[in-house]
Symmetry: D3
Subunit: 130 residues, 6 copies
């Protein structure tokens, strides 16, 4: 089980290949990341996760870059090194600049600090009128 | 110490009042949130935190709404109920729509799921060329 | 199961009472906190947890107040409201002042901020000589 | 963006150098840690973070060693490997002994256990008189 | 946005009702939990989340009770009070006894303690042969 | 202190050896994991932790495999790489199959997603009758 086997396209079942094909077509790339190769060990999780990510990350009221910034913010807070790397790369492709990356991390750090202060002081919610 | 005393303007020291004044002037509001009233118990933390928040949340390469979305993403992941409430209200003032709020939470949820999958499978970083 | 039943001394088994007695004797108090009344639903956990807490929190190389500060730091970071309250009260009994409480929360907040910055930037360990 | 560029003194701007100089002078060391070299990619974050750390970690009602222990407790709970290493080294310089380090980790572990028990059982706050 | 509007069946769109209908039919209940009424504010998230939960929680190599125990373990560790309550109730329906609930929380607490010890000591992975 | 010294049997004190002996006898193995070799730096923590783990992980209302699954769920959520590895290996010995491992991670991921949704929407508890 661990270390996880990364399943390459040439060794994948037809079921897995059809998901890999859709990832590559949707993202206009010619290979898939290790994340998908690992999930391929459990094809039902692979398909469900991909269908969900495809839906959630599609442009909508929020644009793709904004969604990537949110993804990075969650990944840093959850400490997922793999996800920090892969979504920072995705954000770069979507237009993230060095300056914006610096601001992103500054906001993440500041929020973490005030989150702890608010919880440490057990601050009551503001009344609705504030 | 707990429950925390919320220090109101009329009972605040000159030092605390000058920070409260700057918060109200900067934000164009006529009162401060409970967060600041609680921090007023430790004036040096009050001033430092406000100066930092003012700098970090100012418009830059990222606009104020995007910064609020990142703040909410971190606050949900850290489970700060107070911060979720106050920054959702701030985001609303900055233009957050119901649809965008729904997408924000969907991305937060999806990132949390894939963060755990990536860590659970202990997926190795992609090579630089991917 | 939830809401948890708080088991009062008068309704407790002899096994539970003997743990309650030891808590009250060790702490020189005449009742036990809700934490212990809740654990009394699973007496083996009650006894094990009390024996462990008694050992870990006893004075040693670190004094009792310092241990309470560490306990609060962990509890704030883990978001345990119950624990923040009970250990802040315990720290107060052990001598925590308002000023020290303010500094404690300031350090907790600052550490949380720099933790996220270090993870967000994926900063490599310093070499041994630094 | 990732891997982060560590900015060395000799390649740093005057703005960054002035912060590095203050860090080295304040800490009486002749180089800065990777943390600061990484933050130097966003000079405004570098300066703000350093000014904050300098204020928060200065001796006050809590002594420097106690502050380092709190920092380590938060860093372990947040899973920041870099911070665990650098603050354990700082605590050692401030006088942390092997025995105290063992007690520190024991308290961190115990608090994490009881935090989960209290949240798992959803234990209500003790009344004020307890 | 907050407080969240809970959308009742009688006020729901046809799209939302069809998901509510499937939840009630699958679970053999005659109303849906607040969780689904809240997600109904973003129907695409409602449908996707329900389809995913339905797939993931169906009996498989792991039985439904075991899956609920895992769900509770994650929810306690993530501090989701709502989820702790609803999944403990679901586990009860699936056969969880008081004794097993006590053991579940004991394992969760113990794992949290040793997780922090392992991270605090930065313990290297065992070699493959261990 | 860091990097932690792993204390081997041949260099261990009699006190540490007696714990190592009990671990090996209880688990029917001929060496102990790095976790115990690291804890041996603080013998009182070594003994207490081992006695607790031995009690908590013994067969009871929940069987050993189920307990290992819960342990893994907590370890993934807390991001303890060491613990994920060692308890996945322990679960394998207790009968975990590849398919069950895939389902375990799917449940962990799903719970993490809905935990964030429930907290993000700040969903109120269901009334008791639901």
């Amino acid at each position: 089980m661990l270390p996880v086997e990364l399943i390459e396209y040439e060794n994948a079942s037809a079921e897995v290949r059809s998901v890999f094909d859709d990832i590559m077509a949707t993202r206009k790339v010619d290979k898939v990341n290790n994340f998908w190769k690992a999930l391929a060990n459990h094809p039902v999780t692979l398909r469900r996760t991909w269908e969900s990510v495809k839906q959630v990350m599609a442009p909508g009221a929020l644009n793709p870059l904004t969604k990537e910034l949110i993804y990075i913010a969650v990944s840093v807070t959850n400490n997922c090194d793999y996800c920090i790397h892969s979504h920072t790369k995705a954000a770069q492709k979507a237009g993230l600049t060095e300056e914006a990356f610096g601001e992103l991390l500054a906001v993440i750090g500041m929020a973490s600090e005030t989150n702890r202060l608010a919880n440490g002081y057990q601050i009551p919610l503001d009344s609705a009128s504030q």
